[in-house]
Symmetry: C2
Subunit: 505 residues, 2 copies
C-alpha cells in the first residue's frame, strides 16, 4: 500500500474511536443539563463502557498495526515517504497519543472513568452540605488513580509532568512553576498598587435582571461572534462548560442569576469562544490530530480572548452597552458607559475562582497548581487539604474562606480526575496575550471596528491563525509562527498593567 492509503486507514480507525468519544461527550453534557437525577448510576456505567471502547480502539491490534506501518512506534521514525508535512505531523501525534493510551491498562481506564463519572455527584452533594469529609475518601481514591496514571505513563522529573502533558503537551511542571512565579510576582504587585487606589463602584451590577432578557442578550452576543446556531446550542447548567462531538454539534452552557447581570454575559462570551474553536476545526480532518484542538491552554486562550480581551474592552461596550441598557432600562439606564466599563473590570481579591476578576484570576489558578502538585507528589495529605487551601489563599490573595464550600470544595475538576488541568487556565491567558499582541499589530484599529459592532474579522483572524491548524503545530511553534517571538509572559503582563493602571488611574 502507498503512504496515502496507509494514512487513510489509520485516519479511519482513529475516526471510529473519536465517534465514540463524541458520544461520551454528549452523555456528559446530558448528565449536566437534562438527565433525570436518578440516572447517575447507569450513566456512570455507560461512560465506563464507552471509555473502555475508546481505549480499546485507540490501542487495539488494528490501530497498532496501522500506526506501525507508518511510523516506528519505538523510535518515532517515519517509515513511509510521500506524506505531506501536515500528515507527517499527524502521524507523530498519533504515536504520541498512542504511547500515552497504551500505557494505561484497560481495567484502569474503566475504573478511572466510572469513579470520576460517579464523583461528580458525590462532590456536588459534599459541596452543598459543606462536608469535605464526605468528599475526602473519593478524592483520596482519585488522587491515587491520578498518581497511578502518572506512573503508568511515565515522567522524567515529577509525576505531575505526566498529568500536565495530557492537557498541555510539551510543558514541564518545572517550566510551569517558573512561569507562575513570574506571573505571581507581576500580578501580586499590580494588585497591591490597584488596591491602594480609589475603589470602583460596581453595585449597579446587582439588581433585577430578568432571566429571559439575559438569555436574549446572550444570543445576540453569540450570533454576532459567529456562533453557528445550526451547529450549536446554549443551555443552562450549574457549572458552565462547553462540549463538542464534532464541528457540526457543539453545546455550551451558562448559568443565569436574575439578580446579577455580569456573570452570564462573560460566561457566554467565554464558552462561545471555546465553541468557535471547535466549530472551525476542519471537518474533513475529524478523527485526526489535524482536526483536534491543540491543547487545553490554547482552548482557554480562545475563551478568555472573547471573555476578557474583547468582552471586557471599552470598544466592545461602546456598541453593546446601549443594547444592554435597552434590555434593562431600570437597572442600567442611568449608569454611564464609563462606570459600567470600570465596574465589569473591578479588581478585588475574592474567594471563588469563576467569579474572580481578570487580574486576580491567575492567582486562583496558581494556588490550585501548587496544591495539585503537592497532592500528586504526596507532600500534602488529603486530610490537610482544607487547611492548606486556607493558608494559600491568605498567602496569595490575602483573604481566607470561612467554609470549604468556598475553599477546596469549590471546583468540579478534582471530582472529574482532571489533575493537571488547572495550569491551562493561566497558560491560556498568557498564550492569548501573545496572540492578541500579534492580532493588534495587524489590526491596530480593532477597537474602532468593534465599537461599531464588527466582530467577524476577529473570528476570521482566529480561524486563520489558530483554529484551522488543529494540532498541526506545537503550542510553542504556533505562538512563534503567529507572533514571531518565543512563548513569553510579557505581552500578557504588560496588557494587565496598562489596562488596569488606566482604569484605576
Amino acid at each position: 500500500m502507498k503512504a496515502h492509503d496507509l494514512y487513510a486507514d489509520l485516519h479511519s480507525l482513529s475516526r471510529h474511536a473519536q465517534l465514540l468519544s463524541g458520544v461520551a461527550a454528549l452523555l456528559d453534557w446530558d448528565q449536566a443539563t437534562y438527565m433525570p437525577p436518578a440516572g447517575d448510576d447507569i450513566r456512570s456505567e455507560q461512560l465506563k463502557e464507552l471509555a473502555a471502547l475508546v481505549h480499546q480502539r485507540k490501542t487495539g491490534a488494528p490501530f497498532t498495526k496501522a500506526l506501525g506501518q507508518l511510523i516506528d512506534i519505538e523510535s518515532g521514525t517515519l517509515l513511509v515517504e510521500g506524506l505531506t508535512p501536515a500528515q507527517a505531523a499527524a502521524v507523530k501525534l498519533w504515536r504520541r497519543d498512542y504511547l500515552q493510551d497504551v500505557a494505561l491498562p484497560p481495567a484502569f481506564v474503566e475504573e478511572f472513568a466510572q469513579t470520576t463519572a460517579l464523583g461528580h455527584n458525590i462532590w456536588r452533594k459534599a459541596k452543598e452540605g459543606n462536608a469535605f469529609g464526605d468528599f475526602a475518601p473519593l478524592l483520596e481514591k482519585i488522587v491515587s488513580l491520578c498518581r497511578r496514571k502518572a506512573d503508568y505513563i511515565g515522567y522524567d522529573e515529577h509525576p505531575y509532568d505526566a498529568l500536565l502533558d495530557l492537557f498541555e503537551p510539551g510543558i514541564s511542571t518545572r517550566a510551569v512553576g517558573e512561569l507562575f512565579t513570574e506571573l505571581k510576582g507581576g500580578v501580586t504587585s499590580l494588585v497591591s498598587s490597584l488596591m491602594a487606589a480609589p475603589q470602583v463602584d460596581d453595585r449597579f451590577l446587582s439588581g433585577n435582571f430578568s432571566a429571559d432578557n439575559q438569555l436574549t442578550f446572550s444570543w445576540k452576543l453569540l450570533e454576532d461572534m459567529g456562533f453557528n446556531r445550526s451547529s450549536g446550542r446554549l443551555d443552562l447548567s450549574a457549572h458552565p462548560f462547553s462540549s463538542s462531538a464534532h464541528p457540526s454539534d457543539n453545546r455550551i452552557t451558562t448559568r443565569i442569576h436574575p439578580t446579577s447581570v455580569a456573570s452570564n454575559i462573560f460566561t457566554v462570551l467565554h464558552e462561545g469562544g471555546h465553541a468557535l474553536y471547535e466549530m472551525a476545526l476542519p471537518a474533513d480532518e475529524y478523527g485526526s490530530p489535524l482536526g483536534q484542538a491543540l491543547s487545553h491552554g490554547i482552548h482557554e486562550s480562545q475563551s478568555r480572548w472573547w471573555e476578557t480581551r474583547i468582552g471586557k474592552s471599552l470598544p466592545f461596550w461602546r456598541h453593546y452597552y446601549p443594547i444592554l441598557q435597552g434590555h434593562f432600562p431600570e437597572a442600567l439606564g442611568n449608569v454611564p458607559l464609563e462606570s459600567f466599563y470600570r465596574a465589569i473590570n473591578k479588581v478585588q481579591p475574592s474567594l471563588i475562582r469563576v467569579e474572580a476578576d481578570d487580574v486576580t484570576y491567575s492567582l486562583h489558578v496558581i494556588l490550585r497548581f501548587e496544591l495539585e502538585r503537592a497532592l500528586i507528589e504526596g507532600s500534602l495529605a488529603i486530610v490537610d487539604l482544607p487547611e492548606a487551601w486556607r493558608a494559600k489563599m491568605v498567602e496569595l490573595l490575602g483573604i481566607e474562606p470561612s467554609t470549604d464550600r468556598e475553599g477546596c470544595l469549590q471546583d468540579v475538576h478534582w471530582s472529574m480526575g482532571a489533575f493537571g488541568y488547572f495550569p491551562s487556565y493561566a497558560l491560556g491567558n498568557l498564550y492569548g496575550g501573545q496572540l492578541f499582541a500579534a492580532f493588534e499589530k495587524l489590526h491596530p484599529n480593532w477597537g474602532e471596528r468593534v465599537a461599531v459592532g464588527e466582530l467577524g474579522f476577529i473570528r476570521l483572524w482566529l480561524n486563520e491563525n489558530v483554529h484551522r491548524h488543529g494540532r498541526r503545530y506545537t503550542t510553542a511553534e504556533l505562538l512563534e509562527k503567529v507572533s514571531g517571538e518565543p512563548f513569553n509572559a510579557t505581552p500578557y503582563l504588560s496588557f494587565l498593567k496598562d489596562k488596569y493602571s488606566a482604569i484605576y488611574r
Copy 2:
C-alpha cells in the same frame, strides 16, 4: 460452573450490550429534542457505530459461548438444571433474540442503522414540502432492506411474519389479518351507526390555551399517575415519543398547540403510560429479558390504557375537569363537564392517525398494515403507494387526502425502517381491552375512586399484573394468566360499542 454462575455470566454480557442500546436510545432522544440541526450526519454515524457494537455484543464469541453453555442453540433444549422457571424462560428468550440477531450480517446491521438514522431527516423535509418523490428513493431502499431482513431471519409463510415478530413475538401475519378483519367489521359498522346519530360539538376544544398552563397541567397528570420525576423527563418534540435507557432514566415528549387543548393532554397520558411501564421494570433484571418490556403491543396497551381507558373516561374528568377549567377559565369556564367529555370522545373519520378518535384509530392502523404487507411481499410498488393510500382511505374511512403530507407521508415509522410496528398499535388496544376487563372485575368501583383523584391503585395493578414480569410470559400467556381467557377481541369491541353508543345515545 454451576447453573447460577453460568446464568450470571450470560446476564452480565447481555447487560453490557444493553448499556450501549441505552446510549443509542439517548442519542435518538437527543436528535429529536435538542441536537443542533447540522448534527444529523455525525449522529447517523454514531448510531451506526453503536448498532454495530450492540450487534457484536449480542452475537460475538463470548455471548455465543455463554449462551451455548446454558441451552443448546440449535434445538433449544436447556443444558443445565437448577435454573428457576423465570431464569429458564429468560434463557429461552435470549436464544430467541440471539437467533434473530445472528441471522443479520454485521454490515447489514450497520447499513440499516445508518440509513434509518439519516432517513428521519429526509422524510421530514419531504413531508414539509409535500414531495413524495423526494422520499421515494429512500423508502425504496428501506423496503428493500426490510425485505432482506425478513429473508435473513427467515419465515414460514410470509416475509412480513419475520418483521412482525420483531415487534410482536408469536403472532403471524395471517393471524393479524384475521383479527383485523374482525376489528374492521366491528369498527366500521359502529362508525356507520355513530355517524347517523346527531353529531358532537367540540368547537370549544380550539381557542386560547397558553402553552405554560398546558405544561403545568401535564405535570399534574404525570405526577398523579405516579411518573417519577427523579427518573423521568418531559420535553417537547415534533413527534411525541417515549424512550428509556434504564428504569432510572426515562424520557417522554409531547407537543403543545397553544390553540388546542386536547392533543397535549392525551399525548402526555399516552407517553406517560409507556414511561410507567419502563420505570416499573425490575432494575436488578436490567439487561435480561426479565427486565425488558414484553412487546410493542403490550407497551401500547399501557399507553392506550392511560390515554383512552382512563384519560377519556367520565370519572377521570369528574376530578380533573375543574382543575383544567381553573387553568383555562375563559375557554372552558362555561362548558359543562358532560359536553367536554362528549367532545374529547367525538368520533369523526379523519386523515391523520395521531389525531384520530379512539373508534376510527384502528382503521388507520389496519390501512398501514395492509399497505406494509403489500410493499414487503412486492405486490405494491413504491411509485403506486400514494394512490394506494388514497384508495384505502376511501375504502376504510370514506375520505380521501388531497396531499401526500396528509397521506402516505404522515408517519415517521417507515423512515425509521419500522415495518412491522403498526399492527402493535391496534393490538395494544385489543390487549388493553382484555386486561381492562380483568382489572374491572377486581375493581368494579374504579370509576368512583378515579372520580376523587385516586390513580395510584391503577398503576399498582399494572405493576403487579404486567410490568414486573418483564418478558417472563408470552403475550398469550400473560393475557390468559390475567384474564383467565385466551386472547380475543371481544372485550375491546364490546367496550367501544357500549361506550360510544352511550355517548351518541
